[in-house]
């Protein structure tokens, strides 16, 4: 039997007296999309930071290809092929596509005694990499990242991670800030990455997006894995229930009402109010 690309066994993480992750055990295989679902504050960020080497687990073990690994810093995780793409993708809005694609690993050519940044190669490679992922609107490596749409930036960041040999791709809420069309672009790219045998960890709280691409789902509640199931084992409603706190539908209704009441108190947007009242 082949080993999972990445495996966590009984990982705990606490910051001082505060326990953030409890006894997390997860496996992810190559060519599989693991959707990590959970409400805000469920410990998703801490979990991915632990995977990416930003935090060290307080206890528990991590394995890659069946071998125990310990990351002291993000670079260690990156060298093992774990890449994280954050919500806004490209983080250097005023850099060109070619330049930002190769930050830290710039291609150089030798001209006499000098080692010159090879802009042409950088641009061509970057554009080719992102076009292979189906984003054909990007054709000029000199364009600035800030001029791309949110979905294009995400796609570029994912293409970049894959180009540099990511085996585990951690996507931190890639669709959270995007519209419907842009989101579907990103979801398609997740599927493309899966097709290439990359293990994708897709963090989201949009169940629809998770259902569209996920093979394997884990729901985090208060730092613990509340549910761990495969595609098709649960319905959309069941997953939503789980994310909302692991309660049954009946009590969820009550929760929704509670939420609306407290929400009315703050009432930041006037729009939901008229809609909420006739329902209540």
């Amino acid at each position: 039997m082949t080993h999972p690309v990445l495996e966590l066994r009984n990982v705990n993480k606490s910051f001082g007296p505060i326990d953030v992750l409890h006894d997390i055990s997860l496996k992810i295989n190559a060519g599989e999309v693991l959707c990590l679902l959970g409400d805000n504050g469920a410990g998703k960020s801490t979990l991915i930071k632990t995977l990416a080497g930003v935090h060290k687990p307080t206890s528990g073990e991590m394995f890659m290809d069946g071998k125990p690994v310990l990351f002291d810093k993000p670079k260690d995780a990156a060298e093992q092929g774990i890449a994280t793409v954050h919500q806004f993708g490209g983080t250097f809005p005023l850099m060109s596509i070619g330049r930002s694609f190769f930050v830290g690993v710039e291609p150089v050519k030798k001209i006499g005694p000098f080692r010159i940044f090879d802009r042409k190669t950088a641009n061509e490679t970057a554009v080719k990499a992102v076009r292979e992922f189906g984003i054909t609107r990007i054709d000029d490596g000199d364009r600035l990242i800030g001029g791309l749409s949110g979905g294009e930036r995400q796609s570029l960041a994912i293409a970049r991670a894959v180009h540099f040999g990511a085996r585990v791709l951690i996507l931190d809420e890639p669709t959270a800030a995007l519209g419907v069309k842009q989101s579907s672009h990103v979801l398609r790219i997740i599927l493309e990455a899966r097709k290439r045998g990359i293990a994708v960890i897709f963090i989201t709280h949009q169940v629809t997006h998770a259902m569209a691409v996920g093979d394997h789902f884990a729901v985090l509640i208060r730092g613990a894995v509340a549910a761990n199931f495969m595609r098709g084992e649960k319905t959309r409603e069941e997953i939503t229930d789980l994310m909302a706190g692991g309660e049954a539908l009946a009590s969820l209704d009550a929760e929704v009402e509670d939420y609306m009441e407290t929400h009315d108190g703050h009432a930041p947007q006037p729009q939901p109010q008229p809609k909420a009242e006739p329902v209540a």
């Binding site: 993000p74 670079k75 990156a78 983080t91 250097f92 809005p93 005023l94 850099m95 330049r99 930002s100 190769f102 930050v103 830290g104 690993v105 710039e106 150089v108 000098f114 080692r115 010159i116 940044f117 054709d139 000029d140 000199d142 364009r143 600035l144 800030g146 001029g147």
Partner: protein, 334 residues
């Protein structure tokens, strides 16, 4: 096609500074009755630009990397006093004085850099601290060691030739150093991997570090470059004028910031160019020195500089937006 070419030009960070330079030159010609040929070959603003330019380049690099160094205001007199005290007052060989001046620059740059990477204090505050502290040290050391705030120094011919003689009787040799430095840093910032790192640091330091860039080492290096460059300007001044004073240098802080910002560098980092800094420096020097050659009363120069700064920054903002939205050259051709 024309649009594409125009957008390519406007996309460059130098666009604003180039237009500023043209505008200032036109203004002087139209309202000042100045002869452009005379103005272009006038030593006074070129000398001024060279001294300013040598501190403006590292200032610009730091700004692109998202930081500031205002301690240069104290490092210029510190550099000239070091060489004057060591080689003038104590009569040591000139190379010891020069090594002392540049070594002091390395030391102060190291302190700035270490404080910047080890603490979360903004570098404006850190270098404000070292600025004031260095002023105190330079004044105290000068009075304590020499009993005076002004020290004479006589440099041998080779040192004069390299750092402090006048070419053709009026052009300071430091102009060549400035031009050389500009060429060197165009190569480093725009055509080397390290240059890319500087942009990445200014864009997002955390991502840059995660991408494997040694951000701490780069930042310390940039602060050392800045302090050493300021010290170098002071040292050249002392060798040229055969004396050094503890005062002076404060003007350089603001002048350098204006030159860099007019040159299209984004104050918050991540965007800019050496060519722009060069043009910004030239523009600043022409306004502040070239005004003597016009019919305009020179008291107006600060007003012109202030207005120019605001206009240039506004223009740069517009151009940056254009750069973000403008269609690329390739797609426009289709």
């Amino acid at each position: 096609m024309n649009n594409a070419v125009l957008s390519q030009v406007l996309r460059r960070p130098e666009a604003g500074s180039f237009l500023s330079l043209v505008a200032v030159a036109l203004f002087f010609v139209i309202f000042g009755g100045v002869n452009l040929g005379t103005l272009a070959t006038t030593a006074s603003w070129v000398n001024f630009a060279a001294n300013l330019g040598i501190v403006a380049i590292p200032m610009g690099l730091l700004m692109i990397a998202g930081e500031l160094d205002i301690s240069i205001g104290a490092m210029i007199p510190a550099g000239s006093m070091s060489v004057a005290i060591l080689s003038g007052h104590y009569g040591l060989p000139i190379w010891i004085g020069m090594a002392g001046a540049l070594g002091l620059g390395v030391l102060v740059g190291l302190v700035n850099g270490l404080l910047a990477v080890r603490t979360t204090v903004p570098t404006l505050i850190i270098t404000l601290g070292t600025l004031v502290a260095m002023q105190g040290i330079v004044l105290s050391a000068s009075v304590l060691l020499t009993g005076s705030a002004s020290v004479a120094v006589e440099a041998p011919a080779w040192a004069k030739f390299l750092f402090g003689h006048l070419i053709g009787g009026s052009y300071q040799v430091i102009i060549l150093w400035w031009l050389g430095m500009t060429a060197l840093f165009i190569g480093i910032l725009h055509h080397s991997a390290r240059g890319n790192w500087i942009f990445a640091m200014g864009g997002d330091k955390v991502s840059a570090r995660n991408a494997g860039i040694p951000t701490d080492r780069m930042l310390i290096g940039l602060f050392i470059l800045s302090a050493v460059s300021a010290s170098f300007v002071g040292m050249c001044g002392a060798i040229l004028f055969n004396s050094a004073q503890v005062s002076g240098g404060m003007n350089y802080i603001f002048n350098a910031v204006v030159a860099v910002v007019v040159g299209g560098v984004l104050l918050t980092g991540g965007f800019g160019s050496i060519g722009g800094i060069f043009l910004g420096t030239v523009t600043f020097a022409i306004v502040s020195q070239g005004i003597y050659f016009t019919d305009i009363d020179r008291n107006w120069s600060s007003l012109i500089i202030g207005v120019m700064l605001l206009l240039a920054v506004l223009m740069n903002n517009v151009f940056r937006k254009l750069a973000l939205t403008a269609p690329s050259a390739k797609s426009a051709k289709k």
